[in-house]
């Protein structure tokens, strides 16, 4: 129990969307999500565009006020009142290294900002030392401190963003697609850095990405989301070798494998159609409109996430 750092219980995030003149419909971006993350652990979060991954991350950090549910961090519930002090322990790294940093700020100012906000130094000299130490941590040259964000490459900017997140010495970082915008040859540098920081500092990550190979590489466990719900959650090797949920099965079979023999010999399960709009959520199981195993029951009831043995959780009636 004491190893659990973050506990998310039945988190819901609905956005009211105007659908008519006098009418608002709730868009259920996140609809009853529960999981835990251990100290120093990485939980991967995957799923199709719009399934609610970013919203989960933002709701945990209370960048949105959740509609319902509970987030418990290190034994303490995160609320409106304590979120400011909580942000010293929980941070976020954003997807786009080009737009998430102010190009007119110097590297020093960007990394120093959270230090200023949380007053984490006693004098100018200490501030500067902290900044240089952080830059060193993420592999940035100290000569770069006075340069502007726009002078850096994508991989370097992502390092700046990570140094900023680390400035407050957090125990947990939400990494929202931190390598998606980077060139393949640069991705590996940044992934390695995340791993090294975890080994050194014991930070835990919620690692959001759409590249399943990257997620598999970095995560101990993986949660698969579909239309606002977690449909499967398991140890990453187990999930990849033995996916139970029909959505996970098709998702894994669709991942392009960079190996011609494997790529050409395996069977793709190509899904029909598109993800339904979260405004017109199907009844019952959210996946049933594209599921080859769907039965009458799937249209009536929504399957819950249950343990199929050894902590391998899946939400499906038939698989």
């Amino acid at each position: 129990m004491s190893d659990i750092l973050l506990e998310v219980n039945d988190l819901k995030q609905y956005f009211p969307i105007r659908t008519g003149f006098f009418q608002k419909t709730p868009l259920k971006a996140v609809d009853g999500v529960s999981f835990t993350i251990g100290k120093g652990e990485t939980l991967g979060l995957v799923g199709e565009s719009g399934c609610g991954k970013t919203t989960v991350g933002r709701s945990i950090l209370r960048l949105y006020e959740p509609t319902a549910g509970q987030v418990i961090f290190d034994g303490e519930e995160v609320t409106k009142n304590n979120i400011n002090s909580m942000r010293k322990k929980m941070q976020m790294v954003f997807q786009d290294p080009y737009s998430s940093l102010d190009p007119r700020m110097t590297v020093e100012d960007i990394i120093g900002e959270p230090l200023d906000v949380h007053k984490l130094y006693s004098n100018k000299k200490e501030r500067r030392e902290k900044i240089l130490e952080l830059m060193n941590y993420v592999g940035l040259n100290s000569e770069h401190a006075t340069r502007y964000a726009h002078e850096f490459s994508g991989g370097q900017r992502q390092r700046i963003g990570i140094a900023r997140a680390l400035a407050v010495d957090p125990q947990f970082i939400v990494c929202d697609e931190p390598v998606s915008a980077l060139d393949v040859s640069i991705q590996a540098q940044v992934i390695n850095m995340f791993e090294e920081l975890q080994e050194k500092l014991g930070v835990a990550y919620l690692f959001i990405a759409h590249d399943l190979l990257v997620v598999h590489h970095i995560s101990k466990r993986i949660a698969v989301m579909y239309l606002g719900k977690i449909v499967e959650l398991a140890d990453s090797d187990e999930l990849n070798n033995n996916p139970l949920h029909p959505y996970t099965q098709s998702l894994l079979s669709a991942v392009p494998i960079p190996d011609p023999d494997i790529a050409r010999s395996r069977q793709r399960i190509v899904l029909e159609g598109d993800v339904p709009s979260p405004l017109k959520m199907p009844t019952g199981c959210p996946f049933r409109t594209r599921c080859q195993y769907a039965t009458e029951q799937c249209a009536q009831e929504c399957p819950t996430l249950t343990d199929r043995g050894g902590g391998h959780m899946s939400a499906c009636f038939n698989k």
Binding site: E48, Q156, S185, I186, E195, H217, I257, P258, D259, P260
Partner: protein, 334 residues
């Protein structure tokens, strides 16, 4: 086979900008055969798109083919007039882009745009063109084509818009389809649908396809032959099998090492260090030299020659030349 469908020879394409000449493509040569799927991979900025756009001659106004030839069925199309090129683009060669929204006009219906394309590029008119539009939508796997024809681009999902773009590209029944990152903006399950579709159409219609992507996974499952680009040049080319299992250029090797491998998931990735090259100021020798762990003196000063590794494989890296010399022309160079 007899003549290739497309033969690009020593292509040089530059952009003339305020800060100088950007040599985006520097001496690229390759052939494309009838019915072949050719993959072009490489780093961002390595000249993949510019190579493709040079074939179609749809470069930005500052861009120019400064040297080389592009033969289509034996004729050098770089010498063609714009009117001939319009015909070429309309009837012989089509292109689809990464972001379908930028190439569809938001104020016209799908049907409107599709029938216009058909009328422009074929001799079908009126009702016939409309029927053909519905037929094309059906061909690319869009259900209820009649209803879709009346919809506007924003009413369709990303995957469906990309299908419409493909339908549009097929309107003229081209010999060649160029697909520039056709699935990069899409989710994996939708990507799988689109790739499956391109493969199916290629087989059924016998088109040749040039698939430009930075995704090695996509290349591995789709392509017969692969070109790897770095710094505006082809650094390595060969069959999918050769490139993935027997890479010979240091950049290709680095690229393959830096992606997570299904069979070695828990091993540390080995990144390519350093930053991509500056196209405004190309190095004198091998463009990959500054990032190469095994670079030799000659790599700094001389451009590597392309040598044959075997009949299905060529690479431009001095290490291969050295090895071939050590083997005294043994197995490496015949």
């Amino acid at each position: 086979m007899n003549k290739p469908l497309i033969s690009v020879q020593n292509l040089h394409t530059s952009f003339f900008t305020d800060s100088g000449e950007v040599c985006a493509v520097n001496g690229v040569s390759f052939d494309l055969d009838h019915g072949e799927i050719l993959g072009i991979v490489g780093e961002s900025g390595s000249g993949k798109s510019v190579t493709a756009y040079s074939i179609m001659q749809i470069l930005a106004s500052t861009g120019k083919i400064v040297d080389g030839s592009i033969y289509y069925k034996g004729e050098d199309i770089t010498k063609w007039k714009e009117k001939q090129m319009r015909d070429f683009r309309g009837k012989c060669c089509s292109i689809i882009f990464q972001d379908p929204m930028t190439s569809l006009n938001p104020v016209f219906t799908i049907g409107n745009q599709l029938t216009e394309a058909i009328k422009l590029h074929t001799d079908k008119k009126g009702k016939e063109a409309k029927a053909r539009a519905a037929e094309l939508l059906e061909l690319v796997g869009i259900n209820e084509p009649e209803r879709r024809l009346k919809q506007y681009p924003y009413e369709l999902s990303g995957g469906m818009r990309q299908r419409v773009m493909i339908a549009m590209a097929l309107a003229c029944e081209p010999d060649i389809l160029i697909a520039d990152e056709p699935t990069t903006a899409l989710d994996v399950t939708i990507q799988a649908q689109i790739l499956e579709l391109i493969q199916k159409l290629q087989k059924e219609l016998g088109m040749a396809v040039i698939l430009v992507t930075h995704d090695l996974g996509v290349i591995a499952s789709m392509c017969d032959n692969i070109i790897v680009m770095y710094g505006g040049r082809i650094c390595e080319r060969g069959t999918a099998h050769e490139i993935f299992y027997n890479p010979k250029h240091e950049y290709t090797k680095g690229l393959l090492r830096s992606i997570p491998n299904v069979t070695r998931m828990k091993e540390k990735l080995i990144p390519i260090l350093g930053t991509p090259i500056n196209m405004l100021n190309l190095p004198k020798g091998c463009s990959f030299c500054a990032r190469c762990d095994n670079a030799m003196k000659i790599c700094l000063t001389e451009k590597p020659e392309e040598i044959s590794i075997n009949e299905n494989h060529k690479a431009s890296c001095w290490i291969n030349v050295r090895d071939a010399m050590i083997n005294e022309g043994g197995n490496a160079d015949e």
